[in-house]
Subunit: 320 residues, 5 copies
């Protein structure tokens, strides 16, 4: 389904029209926003061919899951971004895929996002009586994409502090599994953010960058910084989770060691003693020690001596 | 065996000919594709000398397993690539070795691939009535090489998610061995992709790059991005597998700790008690306690007290 | 609450005034310091609009927790820094947030710091009879920020040496938890220092850097070096803590191994022997061995032989 | 011992001569190769002073174990390389040290290699009737050095595959020790290769590089690629061995866990039961239960119930 | 205490003089070396002010523990270096701090080194009848600093080989602690060497570097290479120690696994059997099995069958 919104400069109003109704030549004040969220691939190609958009842009635009990218041909710029559509980092369903092709007068968008709230924020606002400035829409979308990560990352900070406390005191397998999920999600996000950060980093350093057509250098630097901070935050959180896993491993290992110590000491002292008492529990007819009047007491004394010797040995070896 | 396909501009058709039949001077519209897949080293050298190709190119071309590389001398460009020929990443037999030497009119190819389907895709299509454009063939091969990785990487994503679930809940040695194989294969692929990515990265930044003779900058950037994404995906998957191994280690260690706790508590409480009951199971003739009327009950009470004391001690130490 | 200090060149004295009293045009010798530490967001915006400061600067200035950053528009420079406000690295409450906007005549500051001593050091000194040089104030603040880290890092060196000794000899869970907290704090600090280091690194290499308006290259290099050394120190300490964790893990593992060795040897030798003595403790009516006159001695000898055989087996296997 | 081979253009033949016999001025077609393999430090200095070679080159040349390096002064170039002299990577005795100083007419070499076969390959061939081109000799030596690594690295691939299989199924301490040796050797080699790779990388990018006097850029790129591939291979193998160690650790840990599970279940169920049977094996005169007619059967039933309860408890906790 | 050595060109001799005796203008051939090793901070400042040295240099010079650094102002250059003053890497007390300020005629030095032998080597030699060239002194000091690391690093190679053998065969806690100390020291050294390497790396690439006033590019490259090699060696040794720790952990883990296997098998087989023999050692009056004539033999046979079944079960599970 192709949804076209057309701003008629004559009537100064936005009209939903069909592709056929779109004038072949746009007057300078006209604006077009084409929403292809629910369009089939055929419909997408039809629209993009209508504006004679270069095939390399078209190909990347219509792909289901293209990583973030910027490319320009003639007057049109392709901008592919990815927002974070899920509630938090414990469950990663899929990213919000934001595919845009825009010129000064036309915006073609295809946004695939399972979170209706984020989808609404990513949708251009056409309630204005005046024709919109396309680059403002694009700017709004870029900022929304960056904000979709920021919210969750800020919430994550608290969550992680709690996790840190929990792991060091009463870590268990569910928490470990949660950490593993977090790490997996943060890695994926980090990759998306790397691409998005690089798009704007390139824009700052390249003289001919297509983003410079619509944005000032200050805006681009601002976009870059937003994504750079997000990237640095995901790095930080990922690394802190890694430290947590490593620290947990050490703590666990230490506890095993402590338990092992107790077990070994108890076993080493009592298992041989139990063997000795077992000996004198045997029912052989001829066991001279059993007939000795002091046998029992001698045996007890010998065992006590053995036990004490064991304790001394452990003490010397520094076990406690 | 040397297989030569020659496009005669006069008859506008492709003809299989022998090396001897090849005209010494090619007319501007003539095209030649020489398939050396099954040629011996002598035959390869014979063909390459026929076109007076520089020895450094020849040497790299005829090597059995040369890593990906680009080099040009005079009008000829050597392009060595490696595709992924196996079904998935659990078993790595060998890469698809793609050795090409081409000019505007001549393509010499040697493709060594144990997967017949991929081999077919890597073979130029000569069914056309018109003479082919050599660079289109090369482009097709580059795209096929990149696709040979992409398919398996996309499939791998699901496989890895399953593995992640499995490892955290019922990990076993076979899965661990599988992960190790995956990691080993991903490392090897990653190295191949690094070389291939760098070939096109260089092409974008170097002004005199031989690829610029046949391809536009947009095409090169597209090739670069394809391989860069593949590279970044293998990095991601490799790192996620590493995280999985580390997480598995922590989980395992935690479970050992839990078991150790149970074992130590049971042993520490019951082994000394068993020693005590063993004492009174001894058959010495003179054991005064045995003759006491309440001896049994006193002993039972003492042992119960000892057991409770042990439990309290563990409680205080925070074992449960 | 807006606190304005105004230096009147006529009276050569500092006066607390209200925003309304501030002259619309400042004479060349006049200086203004506006303290917004306790100002609401509305008040902050009111002040910043008064000086017609660019919205991008304003937005970053009024944000609660903005990472370190430098930006300039027109005559005004925004400098955001973060000092270390806590006593040491074992407990990280929050950084000292230092937000400055300054020109040659005006300094607007908002400093958020829970440590009153550091806050005092970060506050410009207006006791002078002469008008201050704004850049000297800024310099003083930069140096104070760097010193707020340095003190704690120098103290940390000793603390870490002790920790190192402790972990290798009598490591326990509390120390492990302390190390984990240290590592977490050092990571966060390191990130702040990276941003602050980069601010001054950029200033050295960029020709048009806004810091060059107020500082000489020697001063900038000095600032850069201060933060670079701090960054390098946090890196070093973080890495040494990581080594410590890893070494502790190895040591622990080794001790588990030693204990395991003792336990296994004792158990392997005595558990089977205990089984044997248990056999001859059974009360079956017909147990021929029990009736043998030498049964007891034969059994003892056999068990001694078994024990010695076990020891020899362990010796051969190299267990001790 | 100084071995001098002199090519007399008049007689077109190579002659062994003494240092004193060497003409003070060499005619354009004359060539000299001085072999200092067995020369003392004094002899080396004597020869190098004879050609007025700069002291900085001399100092590096005569050092026993100088890492790979390239330096030129006047007409002479110092090239220090290191080949791999041992059979494989399991035992690293020492590298083949290759010290060369050469100009267009003179080659001074000192090669220290405990492998006679490699030493022979590294020795220039003077059987020619024509005077040699010095740079061809140097080229031959560079290629031989690179080949000395390549052979062993190619063999190592198979060895490592086997090791991989072995470690995952029946890893033992000897294999672990072998892996540790391999890793140690690969690290050392990697460092040598880094230096050698950098020598040629510099040569490609520096305009005034001394290697450009004697070699074409194509040759230099070829040398660079050879060492770059070797470097990348050692990196790959090293990393794969690291993965192997990590995987082995995880596998081992998993097996410990499995064994721990069995041990804990058996102990937890049977140790308390053994305590109970021990109780009724005591010989107190007054133990009422023993006199009950059904005492034995009640006890057996209670113990069976206890055992089953234990199994159920383990089942609920998910131990099997 | 300020020690001043003054070379009088008139008498061509070195004279110890006081600060007051120092001529206010130095003749071209005069040289001054001021040793501030034992000077108080006041004395240091007094001397440095005498030569009108810039405050930024003074500040860094008088600091107790400044990391390696190079800075120049006017004719004076500040060079701070750190040598290795301890015997080996097992015990790190403190570095040798070398603070120099020099011009063509004046050298001010403050060297803080607890090793008297190294201190002597770092002290300029004034026994000459001719006035010294200051840059030769500085060069000598730089070389001595680099040599102070090199000696210990070369000795360390052997030490580490032994450690490697020891750890893999009979690793213990003391060796582990030694490795941890080595790693800690190597990290610290590595940081010092990074700074010192960078000083000379900058000198090679910067056109206006102050070191170029006194040293040729060849000398600077030589200094750079010395420190670069030291840096690369510490990296290598550090990494090899890390590998050793990791390998030790794997080996230990494997041994725990082996011991666990033995323990579990012995316990799993004998603990249930011991329970059974315990049953028939009970003294209930009514235990029918005990009255059976073949009870004992049936029980023995059943237990043997149980033991064999256990062994078979372990065999099937692949425990041996």
């Amino acid at each position: 389904m192709i949804l076209i919104n057309f701003f008629e400069p004559e009537t100064s109003s936005w009209q939903p029209i069909s592709l056929a109704q779109l004038p072949s030549v746009l007057s300078a004040d006209a604006r077009v926003w084409i929403n292809l969220n629910d369009a089939s691939i055929d419909e997408q190609q039809q629209v993009l061919q209508r504006f004679a958009i270069a095939p390399t842009l078209v190909e990347d635009f219509i792909r289901e899951r293209h990583p973030p990218k910027l490319e320009a041909q003639d007057n049109f710029t392709l901008l592919v971004m990815r927002g974070y559509a899920d509630i938090d980092f414990s469950e990663y369903i899929s990213s919000a895929q934001v595919n845009l092709i825009y010129s000064k007068q036309v915006l073609v968008s295809r946004i695939d996002c399972h979170n209706p709230q984020l989808l609404a924020q990513l949708t251009p606002n056409i309630d204005s009586k005046h024709g919109a400035i396309i680059s403002d829409w694009v700017k709004q979308i870029i900022i929304t994409v960056s904000a979709s990560y920021l919210e969750k990352l800020i919430n994550f900070e608290d969550e992680q502090s709690e996790l840190e406390d929990a792991m060091l005191h009463r870590g268990n397998d569910e928490q470990m599994a949660l950490i593993m999920r977090y790490r997996s999600v943060l890695r994926k996000i980090n990759r998306n953010l790397t691409y998005q950060k690089d798009i704007f980093a390139d824009a700052i350093y390249e003289e001919q960058n297509p983003l410079l057509r619509n944005f000032t250098e200050t805006e681009l630097r601002d976009f870059y910084e937003k994504f750079e901070r997000l990237h640095s935050m995901t790095d930080l959180y990922y690394d802190q989770l890694s430290d947590l896993v490593q620290g947990y491993l050490s703590t666990t290992s230490h506890q095993i060691n402590e338990r092992m110590k107790v077990l070994t000491m108890v076993s080493t002292i009592f298992i041989p003693l139990t063997f000795i008492v077992g000996i004198y529990g045997m029912n052989f007819i001829n066991m001279p020690e059993l007939q000795m009047n002091n046998g029992y007491f001698i045996t007890l004394a010998a065992m006590a001596a053995g036990g004490v010797a064991g304790l001394i040995w452990f003490k010397i070896r520094g076990w406690w």
